[in-house]
Each structure stands twice: as C-alpha cells, then as structure tokens.
C-alpha cells in the first residue's frame, strides 16, 4: 500500500482509535533508532513496516548484543549472516555510523521457530535482552516496547510469550499495545506498577502516528 492511502486512513479513522491513558502524553525520544525483537517472532517485521510507512529510517537487528548497541548506527559495521539479520536504513548523512542510538524499540513476541533460526533458546534470549536493556538504562537510551500480536499469541501464564513480556515490558519507558494484546489488562498492570506511559491501539496501523511522535 502506498503512503498516501495509509495516511488518509490514519487521519480519519485510526487516530480516533488511539487511546492514551488519562493524563498521559506520547513521550519523545528522537533519532536514531534501533528496532529489534524480543522473542524472534515476525512481529518485528510489522514494526519495521510501520517505520517505513512513517518514512523513518532505522537500524534493525534481530539479535543485537549490548556491544552491538554500543556500536551505534550501523551496529559497529556488523554484516548479516546465517541466523543474524542486520538492516540499516538510517539516514547516514544525518546520523553517521557510530552515532549513539536515542531509542531502541522492542517488538515483543516469542516464536520457537524464530529463536531456532537464530540459534537461541528461551533462556539465552532472556539473557540477551537483559544485557541490552541494562545497557540502554545505563546510557539512558529510550526503550519502547510494542506488542501487536494479539491475545491468542500471548498464551497462558508462563508461556514463552509471557516470559518475553516479563523480560522487556517492566523496563520500558513507553509501552504500545493493541487492544487485543491487552484484553486481560496485563500490560496496563505492568504500566501502572512501573509508572510507564502506555497507549492502546486498535490496529498496528495506529503505531505509525505514534512512532512519528516519539521519534521525530
């Protein structure tokens, strides 16, 4: 779909569906931004398409380590390889290689198939996420976590998805989730307990306007 069609739709319908919790505004983070997955599901592809729709350049890596994040734009020159994906669409004229990231966005969603392809187990994925989040906190890099997979991809308590949520959501600076994903109020509870602003959206399309506000 082209930008025009989505923007017009976004303007008419989707903005009205974005529900900010009372008294909260969309936080600002700025660019450059790194997108990544927490759990290696295809939801990170949705996130990347959202950024493309918003015409925002980004760096993407499926399994970045804290050292790679420290490498800034271009992830220290890491090249993609088997089970390791890197994509750099950041405007290098504005943000040359090595520019520290101002934001990291995690698309939460566990996929055993995805983790298998990356040579990860649930435990090693949790450990990797912990280190990346610690680095972001230390360097005051804005952490945004999104969950667009919906309720039936959440699974029961203790499921792979729930563990990914626990690994990332409580440490985020901003949470954006679809209504479907937050049907049981799980993300609202995490937000309230950790004083994290949260936005519920109807569809992934609602994320387009939000990332523009957060990153630009």
């Amino acid at each position: 779909m082209n930008n025009k069609s989505h923007l017009s739709l976004g303007g008419v319908a989707v903005l009205g569906l974005v529900l900010l919790l009372a008294g909260q505004t969309v936080p600002k983070a700025g660019l450059p931004v790194l997108t990544t997955s927490a759990g290696q599901s295809t939801d990170v592809t949705t996130l990347n398409i959202v950024l493309e729709e918003a015409a925002i350049g980004y760096d993407y890596c499926d399994v970045p380590t804290a050292e790679m994040v420290a490498g800034g734009v271009g992830l220290g020159g890491r090249e993609p390889g088997p089970g390791f994906h890197v994509e750099v669409t950041t405007d290098l004229a504005k943000y040359p290689a090595g520019t520290p990231y101002k934001a990291v966005i995690f698309a939460i969603g566990a996929s055993l198939k995805g983790m298998g392809a990356s040579g990860l187990t649930l435990e090693s994925e949790e450990a990797r996420l912990k280190k990346v989040i610690e680095y972001c906190k230390q360097k005051k890099i804005f952490i945004m976590a999104v969950h667009v997979g919906g309720e039936s991809k959440r699974g029961p308590a203790g499921s792979d998805n729930e563990r990914m949520i626990d690994a990332v959501a409580p440490f985020a600076d901003y949470l954006v989730v679809t209504k479907e994903s937050n049907k049981d109020g799980r993300f609202t509870k995490i937000a309230q307990a950790n004083k994290i602003p949260i936005t519920e959206i109807e569809y992934a399309l609602g994320l387009v306007d939000i990332v523009k506000q957060v990153l630009q």
Binding site: M1, N2, A13, T46, I49, V50, K113, G150, K153
Partner: protein
C-alpha cells in the same frame, strides 16, 4: 607410494569433500539455496490430478502434512441446519500449536483462541472430515495444502487479520458444494475479514468430481484494517486442465493469469493492483503480470540448489518422463501443469507420495549415505527434500468421483506417519464418524489409544535394518492397502444398493466399513512393529516360526566394510 598410502590419499579427497558438504553432480552444497526473497519452509507437498488424467476418472488431490511436531488429530463434523440469525464463531488456529493431552483435545482447546469475530451462519452446513485442515465434505469438495510464503511486506501477523488458512478450509467444507464455490467462499471471507495472523502465503488444492484448482492466497501487509475498505487478502486460482496433473511443493505455482478466461482463472479484485501498489510489478515494464514472480518468487532450480527445491522437477519427471524436464530449468519456468505420459491410478498417486528420488542426482542412499542398510533417513533427513517425508503427520489422497452419490463418490485416504512405512485407509465422504483413535494426536505422549502411534512404532523399528524391514512393510501394504483398493468397486456397489433404499443406510454401512478396516490396519501395524522388533533384534535375523536365528544376517554389505576400513585409514594418526 604404497597401496595404503594411495588409498588414503584417494579417500582423503573423497571423504574430505563428502564431510565438507556432500556434493552432487549438479554441483553446489546440500542445503544451499539460491538467494530469493521468499522461503516458504519445507513442509507439505500437494499433488492434483484432473479427471481426464486419472485411470478411473476421479479427480484427486494429495497432501503430505509434514510439520514433524503438529497435532495429527482427525475428526468428523456432521451436517447441520441453522436458524436465521445464527452466527459462526471464527477462531485463530495455529497449524503448529499442540497441547499436552492432559489439557484436553485440540479442537476443544482451539475455542480458547476466539478471533473476536462472529459471522452470519448459512442455513445449512455440510458434513466433513478434517485433520489439520478440511479435506472432504459430503458434496465431494476436497482439499490439499502447501505453504508457499509471500513477500515479507505482505505478511500480516496482527489480529486485524481474522482468518488463518485452517479456518478458511473449515468454512469451505461447511459452505461449498463445488470447488469453485469453495474458492469463492474462502476468497470472499479473507477479503472481508482479513487473512494472515498465523499464516502467510498458502496454496490449496481444491477439487470436486469435475475439476481441480490451485488456489493461492496471501495477506496484504500488517497495516491493513477492515475500515480501509480494501480487501484484507489477495488471492488467485487457476484450474488444472482436466487431462493434466500438477503439484505444489511449497512454491507458488500460478504464473501469468488471464482473468477474462473465467473457466480457468478466478482472483480477488486486487490481484494485480496490489502488486503495483507494493512495488512488486511495474505495468510499464512491458512484461505481463506474473502472479508468482510478483508475490512469491522462488529463485533457483533443482540443480542450482543441489536438490533443495527438487520436488517440482521430480514430480514432472515422474508424471511425464517423455518430456525430459531438466533439473537445471528454473522452477519458476517449469509448467503449471503437465499431461502425464499415462493416466494415473490411485495407487500411482500413492506411490508418488512415497517417492524418495531414488536414482536421481539427489538419491538419499547414493554412495554410503544410507549406511549399510540403505536407509534414506540416515544421512540427512531433509536435505535434499524429497516428496516422501519421514516427518509426515499424515498424508491424504482424496478422490472425488462423478457418477456416484456424493456420499459414496468422495473418499479421503489417510496414511499416518512416514509414507513409506504407512498404510492408506479409506474414509468415504458419507462416513458419519471417525475412529476414536484418530482423536488423540500428540508427539510427546506415546499412546496405544492413538492410531498414528501404531505407524510411528512400526516406522521406528524399520529404521534399524531399513533395506530388509521395508520389504516386510511393503508386504503388509500389499495386503492391507492393495487389497482394500481392490475391494473399493465392490464396496461402492454395496453402498449404492443401500443408498437407493435409504441414504442413511449407506452412510451406516460405509461408516462400519471404514472403521472396521481402520481397526484391522491399526492392529496389524501394532503387531508389525512388535514383529519387526523381534525379527531384527540385535541385528540378527530371528525366525519365530522355526524358533531359530541366523547370526551374520541381515548381512552387512562388503562395500560398507570397505568404507569403514577406508575411514579407519583416513583417521589413522600420522606415523613419524
């Protein structure tokens, strides 16, 4: 250089190449794939046979459901009448998800994954048999499936997409009296309510007693919303000419399309425009629109991928050897369908589902790959990927036959587990219940109450001395599968006589026949597994009748002993 040194040098070269990555005459490395934007995975092969291409005039489809860990539950859903205003709940159904049996049965637990959508119910829903997908309804509409993937930007894993492929197939079973209706039912629901979530590009073989179609459907990206007014899916269907056969081995099969030819093509209104919008097709290029090249391009050939995508070439070569299809031909240039050199019988099709590419450059037992007992699963189970897959949950062959009442004309043949060691069992469309042992389907809990475990149990005992034990299996297949195929005309006539009295009597008869046959076969396979364990125990050959055994049999072949000696020489430490 002495003989030993010469041998060591030669073998070093051979084994170094072998150990480094198994080359073939076609070159390249097993597992290497030509770079392409779409990797659909390697599960499921579906074959289609037009009525003019089959010996008995039946339209056939097949489906190897070969995920390796999926639930293999089958069940029958009865026909039903619905009051005006009734609704049908839609569920998100993950093809791959399983539950421990202690939690309940799959088709009850699916109801926890309500997609948040209820659609108006139709006045009457047809009865059908389904496993991981719908396969045969009481109007002889039949299906097979194969995942084909799609361009990355088309995937829509968000809950805005209410339909997965499994749910669409169930709705097709419930609502369609013909293959064309099934395509329209699935296409229109996906357009209206969105398609994707657990699935992306998918192919379905859709058939009835008259014709077979290849239906392909894909999501339209994660930013789709129902309020957009745009279709939530893009789909296209092409009919297989009546005297042709075709196949889908995890690759999109539809190329150039002629939507003016409504007898051979159907599509969603966005079939071409979406490709233009997403930048997958430029109308100014001067090239005609090509469905697969736009939405699901699969680069490479059997040869260029060293067998990685050889099933397409292999099928055409099996069906029409006179046309001498070349493994070097890029898969996207191979035809949509082909007229077979000879019409295919049901058994021919079953044999095709058991094909292991023996005698081709990608023969899985070539050289020492199969070990001393020529086991095609021994070296590298899925590389190259062949049509028979040891990881199959089950394989189906459907027959839709004109000239008989639908309840009798339609048959779905089900074989559990790896095709080479399994046995096809018939279930007529008019059957009103499936065996209880088909309702238990979990890979992690062995159960003697589950029909499929009988076949896995036997398959397991074949692996040890494959070259010998497979002969025992083939003898059992000839008895339990071959004989029942031979009895089908007689069963047809008995059922037809009852049908003329009262259709319900035919249904009762066919149900009894199918369940009784299944019980016989499943029990025979449990016993076969036991017998194989005893017969080849400790790699001896035990004769239970004579209460005797032969040491040294089954014999380890001389070439294997030589290979072992060669390996020893190769690995011997250097003497200084």
């Amino acid at each position: 250089m002495n003989r030993k040194e010469l041998m060591a040098v030669g073998l070093t070269l051979v084994l170094a190449v072998f150990l480094a990555g198994h080359t073939s005459p076609a070159g390249g490395k097993v597992g290497e794939r030509a770079a392409g934007p779409v990797i659909a995975g390697e599960g499921c092969t579906s074959i289609l046979v037009g009525r003019g291409a089959s010996v008995d005039g039946s339209v056939m489809t097949t489906h190897t459901c070969d995920c390796g860990t999926c639930d293999w539950t089958w069940r029958h859903v009865p026909a039903a009448d619905h009051k005006p205003g009734s609704t049908r709940k839609i569920y998100h159904i993950n093809q791959y998800r399983t539950w421990p049996p202690a939690e309940g049965l799959k088709w009850d637990l699916i109801k926890k994954d309500f997609a948040g959508l209820e659609i108006p119910e139709v006045p009457h829903t047809y009865a059908y048999h389904h496993g991981g997908f719908g396969y045969m309804n009481d109007r002889q509409v039949s299906l097979g499936e194969s995942s084909i993937g799609c361009q990355r930007r088309m995937e829509n894993p968000t809950p805005a997409a209410k339909f997965d492929i499994t749910m669409l197939t169930l709705l097709a079973m419930e609502r369609a009296a013909t293959a064309r209706e099934a395509i329209q039912v699935m296409g229109s629901l996906a357009e209206k309510y969105g398609y994707g979530f657990h699935d992306d590009g998918e192919m379905l073989a859709v058939a009835d007693p008259k014709e077979a179609w290849i239906f392909e459907i894909m999501p339209v990206g994660p930013l789709w919303t129902p309020e957009s007014g745009k279709p939530g899916a893009v789909w296209c269907a092409q009919r297989v000419p009546d005297d042709h056969v075709s196949v889908c081995p995890n690759e999109s099969r539809i190329g150039e399309i002629d939507l003016a030819n409504k007898d051979f093509f159907m599509a969603s209104p966005n079939a071409v425009s979406l490709a233009v919008e997403m930048g997958f097709y430029d109308p100014k290029s001067g090239r005609p629109f090509n469905w697969k090249r736009a939405y699901s391009p699969q680069e490479g050939s059997a040869a260029s991928t060293n067998g990685g995508i050889q099933r397409l070439w292999r099928f055409f070569d099996l069906a029409a050897p006179s046309q001498a299809f070349k493994p070097e031909t890029p898969n996207m240039d191979l035809p949509f369908s082909v007229k077979p050199d000879k019409k295919l019988s049901l058994q021919d099709v079953m044999t095709m589902t058991r094909d292991r590419s023996y005698g081709t450059p990608w023969d899985p037992i070539k050289g020492i790959r199969g070990g001393p007992f020529k086991n095609p699963n021994y070296f590298n189970r899925r590389e190259p990927r062949v049509i028979d897959d040891g990881r199959a949950e089950y394989t189906t062959v459907t027959q839709s036959r004109a000239g008989l009442p639908d309840a009798i004309g339609g048959i779905v043949w089900i074989a559990f587990g790896s095709q080479d060691t399994a046995c096809y069992m018939p279930f007529y469309a008019g059957v009103t219940e499936l065996p209880k042992s088909f309702g238990v389907g979990d890979h992690w809990t062995f159960s003697r109450d589950s029909a499929r475990w009988a076949f896995d149990y036997t398959d397991f005992h074949v692996q040890v001395v494959y070259s010998e034990a497979i002969k025992d299996i083939q003898a059992a297949q000839a008895k339990y599968e071959g004989e029942i195929i031979g009895r089908i005309p007689e069963i047809d006539q008995q059922a037809l006589a009852l049908y003329k009295q009262k259709p319900a009597k035919a249904a009762e008869f066919l149900t009894g026949f199918s369940i009784n046959n299944t019980t016989t076969v499943v029990n025979a396979w449990w016993k076969l597994g036991d017998d194989l364990l005893v017969k080849y125990n400790r790699l001896y050959l035990y004769n239970t009748e004579k209460r005797d055994y032969e040491r040294g049999k089954p014999a380890v072949p001389e070439w294997w002993k030589k290979a072992v000696r060669a390996y020893d020489i190769l690995m011997e430490p250097d003497k200084k």
